[in-house]
Symmetry: C2
Subunit: 67 residues, 2 copies
Amino acid sequence: MLSEFLKSKRKAFNFTQEDLANKAGVGLRVVREMEQGKATLRMDKVNQVLALFGSELGVVTKQKGDE
Amino acid sequence: MLSEFLKSKRKAFNFTQEDLANKAGVGLRVVREMEQGKATLRMDKVNQVLALFGSELGVVTKQKGDE
DNA sequence: TAGGAATATACCTTAAAGGGTATAAATGAA
DNA sequence: TTCATTTATACCCTTTAAGGTATATTCCTA
């Protein structure tokens, strides 16, 4: 899941949400809402954050029980 | 890539963009912009469309030369 | 326990995503 | 070539994502 991925990666690098937001060039709000699993985020903003970890949004087979 | 995935899937099922939009419950515009590779789409709208093909947005390792 | 840092909520504002509609351009079959 | 279907552009309008800021809350650690 996106939020879990981000939280674990962020912790692994010992970044604060603010660090991430700054590094990614997005508002603190986006990082927060990503970690809280908000569904209506814009892809470009999410991708800016994921890029910090060499990742991005892509099409994957739907998992059952993920939400 | 998201746009390629959608175009090929849509063709494979012989759907029009309008079909997809209706089935997914999104505006025709979203389907068009998805196929045209717009980067600022909302994740929830994209997921509504992808769900028709048992897929969804997920975190993947960044590909080089994808854009 | 404090006290400070990190995280969460809440509010205001702006830019733009998305719906709808109309029209234009492209595609494809008879 | 038609002519209908599909796809692309353009416009208006409403909603809301996202930035910024302020405040509240949680979570440490000394």
